[in-house]
Symmetry: C2
Subunit: 270 residues, 2 copies
């Protein structure tokens, strides 16, 4: 879940390392949208080893909603490929702690909860492709209006693995046809950030009854002459994990992402 | 205009050189659809030098309908970059000769009409990207039904140059949303063959009142759950030339193209 529930300006940081230092030292506990422009942010899932193998296979089978940027060694809180100082116990502004499928806490640090059995998954997020779209002059209404992107549960099923299964969740951005075509081109370059759209046009085709009533995020107008364009969304793995009612797991709080050292353009395949 | 008005099987040739020999020797006078699979075919316009400079600027300004593959030296009937034996006086199965904007003849050879003032334009055609779409398992209904693609005049104006101006003509292929997204990706690789679509969805947005009544080619059904997807079409320069009512010019007869030595994949930019 990339977006915060409200989007006041985040603390600005020139790079991922600075952003993480502000987070780690408690100087920044808010959302991370726009925090270190041009740097990749990641969705987070921390699972016990007993479920981690299944979840890894789930991500492998569903790369559009779950583009894996990094998977830690079991018990290792570091993710050196995302930044040589990344410590996942402290570098996310706000976490969600789940027990038996219930949200039990939203701490700003999980050092006390860490143990040798945990595996961290860092999953690419739409901020990367939204930056690329804006740089390509493709207008994004929810950004212009300072809102969350609209997200919807679909009737498209993910490919299951072990306890992990459930519907694909998508984000929707209304675009004129020429911008939709350009958006396919731009986002196809970023398979590590959900890649090309999964659908465009009639929302009912993917089981969305009312494109004006999102299941997550904020409603956004679809103006005359615009098509709704749908991308696989990082809420998918969050919802799948929640539905699996694991004995224990940790995710990031919505919009409170891990800011990495990776530059957005490093995720571009072309 | 890529398609023939009817599509019986063309004579098959293993390569462009063989195809041209069959044409040059009068053994093949029909359309060229599918004649040398995998080889680029070209739309043709032959103009007096007095208009050729304007037309060259017209093509430069309108690259989606007019992707130039080659432009000859004035008076030179050869196009060596398309095949070292290409002689444009004999290597197209059927020509159209125009005088003062009127179609006056459809010969199979133009040697007697050639003179030192003529400039040849070879323009990429949709056969190249249709081959790529079919190889990507994007279904093309008009191909499956053995029909011409449906083509429409739009209310989108080309960028004029000299005497050359007029509306963009598009071809339309009905596709499911996922195939439309894939088609954007596949055809974006081929700017030399009209490239990515120019529009998808509501035909009225580009001035098409009835997508079931094409201005050229055959009507094709748009099934439930499909979007019409529109590409810039090589009929555009043909229509623009016709409207310019030049004292003299020559084009290919619809569907009777120049078969080149270029392989389709050589036009791919990625």
């Amino acid at each position: 879940m990339a977006q915060a529930s409200s989007l006041p300006l985040a603390t600005l940081a020139p790079d991922g390392r600075t952003a993480r230092r502000l987070v780690r030292t408690g100087q920044h506990t808010g959302h991370t949208a726009g925090m270190a422009p041009g740097h990749v942010q990641a969705n987070l899932a921390i699972l016990p080893r007993a479920q981690a193998d299944d979840f890894l296979r789930f991500c492998q089978r569903n790369p559009k909603p779950c583009p894996l940027l990094a998977v830690s060694e079991p018990g290792d809180p570091l993710l050196p490929t995302l930044g040589d100082d990344v410590d996942i116990r402290s570098d996310v502004p706000r976490y969600r702690v789940w027990r038996d499928g219930m949200l039990v806490d939203e701490p700003t640090d999980i050092a006390s909860l860490w143990h040798a059995d945990l595996v961290t998954f860092a999953i690419g997020c739409s901020f990367t492709f939204e930056t690329a779209l804006l740089q390509a002059d493709v207008p994004l209404r929810h950004v212009a209006q300072g809102r969350n992107v609209a997200m919807f549960r679909t009737n498209v099923q993910t490919v299951p693995a072990g306890a992990f299964h459930g519907p694909l969740v998508v984000s929707m951005r209304p675009l004129k046809a020429a911008d939709a075509i350009r958006a396919v081109q731009v986002t196809s370059r970023f398979p590590g950030a959900h890649g090309a759209p999964v659908h465009l046009g009639d929302p009912a085709r993917i089981g969305i009854a009312d494109a004006g009533r999102p299941d997550w995020g904020d409603a956004v107008e679809i103006a005359d002459g615009e098509l709704p364009v749908f991308w696989a969304c990082g809420v998918t793995p969050q919802a799948v994990i929640e539905a699996a009612r694991l004995p224990f797991c940790i995710t990031h709080a919505p919009g409170h992402m891990l800011v990495t050292d990776l530059r957005d353009h490093q995720l571009a395949v072309l």
